[in-house]
């Protein structure tokens, strides 16, 4: 799946949990979920569960710990999707 498509889908998923609307509007690959968007760690769990549901993948603890910004999320989603095929 193309990176731009994943970014758009990610934006839909994280939108309800974002505290910093401006950082969200200006979201790039380098946007950090906690520091830039001010998503708290509890809501980050919900973001990850929503990602699992959206892409029908399972995120393990190790991936969860790495999934702190948009870039890492795209990498993990892409890898897990590739593993499925």
């Amino acid at each position: 799946m193309e990176k731009e498509i994943i970014i758009e889908q990610l934006k839909e998923i994280i939108k309800p949990y974002v505290q910093e609307k401006e950082a969200f509007e200006a979201l790039t690959e380098h946007t950090d979920f906690i520091n830039d968007l001010k998503i708290n760690s509890a809501n980050l769990v919900d973001v990850i569960l929503d990602i699992e549901e959206k892409y029908d993948i399972v995120i393990d603890n190790e991936s969860m710990e790495r999934m702190l910004n948009v870039k890492a999320a795209i990498e993990i989603i892409s890898t897990k999707l590739a593993d499925k095929i």
Partner: protein, 142 residues
């Protein structure tokens, strides 16, 4: 883990322990009770001359029984004195009042327990079997 052992491991004490007994507990959920003693301090001020249990205390009671007792059970030996927990979100509807000396029963069903976060559907009933409040509560290990 025995019911009494779970209660003794809770990180609360009077006047902020709101669990008397656990009636049932398994991986999916928990059921427990608490009786609101009329001498509890907050009744003196909530409300003045009209004591009724504050919504935040009902929420806390549902969190202690429904979330913390269940979390302790699920974590078993990985929960220690050094484990710190935090309430992360609540969404509760209040339907009926709870007055001094009333006994309530709290029911909780696990929605998920992932990455250290436990989210549950909770509800509280009075002795008449009426639902007094219900909603969802989540907390996590921090």
């Amino acid at each position: 883990m025995k019911f009494q052992e779970i209660i003794s491991r809770l990180p609360y004490s009077k006047p902020f322990l709101f669990v008397d007994e656990i009636i049932h507990i398994d991986e999916k959920g928990v059921e427990g009770t608490f009786t609101f003693d009329e001498n509890l301090e907050f009744y003196k001020g909530h409300f003045r001359d009209f004591p009724i249990t504050p919504g935040v205390i009902l929420t806390e009671t549902m969190a202690q029984i429904g979330l913390v007792c269940l979390g302790l059970f699920l974590l078993n030996d990985t929960f220690s004195k050094n484990t710190s927990i935090a309430l992360t979100s609540t969404e509760i509807d209040f339907l009926k009042g709870v007055y001094p000396n009333e006994k309530v029963t709290v029911f909780s069903e696990k929605i998920y327990f992932r990455f250290g976060k436990l989210k549950c559907k909770v509800w509280m009933k009075n002795t008449k079997g009426e639902v007094v409040c219900s909603g969802t509560i989540a907390g996590m290990i921090v």
